[in-house]
Amino acid sequence: MRRSVMNQPLDTIDATIEQRQGASVATLFREHNRALVAFLQCRLGSLADAQELAQEAYLRMLVLENSGRIDSPRAFLFRIAANLAVDRLRMRKLREAPAMDELPEPAPELHLAPVPERHAMASEQWRGLQEALRELPPKTSRAFVLHVIEGRDFEAIAQTMELSARMVRYHVTRALAHCRARVEEREMP
């Protein structure tokens, strides 16, 4: 790609590369934006943050030098996004628990959960969620609550529950599918 533009005057080369990068990033955006936002929302637990970081990821792709040489722009885009998500979670952790070891109560290990909001769930759905959790085996609901509600990672839950991290993930998966289906019923009058 580079060799073919070698003989052009410098400013045209710049313009060509810029156009190519712009075009390829635009294609990435068109094809993968929905998945990228979903991916970030899953990592961050916040659609607003996900949309913001997705924008940021494209911007980084745009200013990247030699982005034409990247084997898989899609993989690269998601790697940038994953890194941004890690930074955001770290920042959130700092903001929620100020850098002091003297805090009276330690905050949870992993702040996957964003700042809670009231009325995130209507009372009808709230009852549905509780019922759904009661229908599950105790281990399954426990692992689920520890992960989704308390924000602990699978590894930490595995230690507490004396299970493998794989089993913890299995329980969380089952509970998530079950609760989603049960709360869905309630959504329909």
Partner: protein, 333 residues
Amino acid sequence: MANTQQSFDEHMLLTAADWWTRLRDTRGAEASVEQWLDWTAQNERHLAAFEYVNVFGERLGRLDAAARRQLLHEFAPAAAPRRRWLPLAAAAAVVALVAGTGFLLWERVAGNAVVQATYASVTGQNRDIVLADGSKVTLGGASRLRVRFDAGQRQATLEAGEAYFQVVHDSQRPFEVVAGGVTVRDIGTAFDVRRSYGEVAVAVTEGQVRVAATSSAMQTLDAGAGQRVAWDPAARTLRLGTTTQEQAMGWRSHRLEFVGEPLAVVVDSVNRYSSRPVRLDGADVAGLSFTGTVRTDEIDSWLRALPQVFPLQVEMGEHAVTLSAGPMPAQRR
């Protein structure tokens, strides 16, 4: 995005939930992301099902503290008492305290006479503190001090900014201040420690101190009243000079005094009192040597006057002030 009218069968929900937990598992997730993307590309309903589960996950994560506590209490009782949340209001209060007036939290370690505390001050405000041993400290603006006292030693770490110490003598427990690359050990005295732009300056107003470079025990300087030790991190050397009461403690009465110091160091100190951060554009500007007084309540007029003495221009932005290279002052007229 996610179509709320859609409903998915059990198998689809389980598959979507499986991807959700896989992506949340950041260990070894690199490969999963690729596979997940392939899965979403296979069928349009796949991504829709994932979004459907995803939205639900976000809503659960946003439940308020009372709801969370209730769920934990019922479904994960053993974990609840060990790891309760910091109630959100309390967390906010701690943050507000830190931001507003600095904070103080003592911790006594298992019956041992160990006391630890961290003090911080906000930009533009000094703060007076009395330590557990009766020693007095004045913190400059935007400064942070961590203190740890035990049976054999009193140690204070200046993590940022500037502090003036009036130390109560105790031959059994020496008082040590760690700042950047140096350690200051007192013998019952009063002295000022300032960190700016990597440099550390120790100005003694009473008694005597011993200043040691942390990196090398061989580099040690004793300084008495009226003397000043500066640590140059680039040259890794300690330099002995002189100081006056005014230079060492002027900042406690709103005057920052400088004698032949790089503009970068000056601006670093000024920024601890400035509502708008001052930025230096270019190494030439940063290296200009400044002698004079900056009133912390009149920073703007000082900035506006700078182009009269230095070849630089001042750009007063809404959120920041930028100093960049400009014409020589003489050429301006």
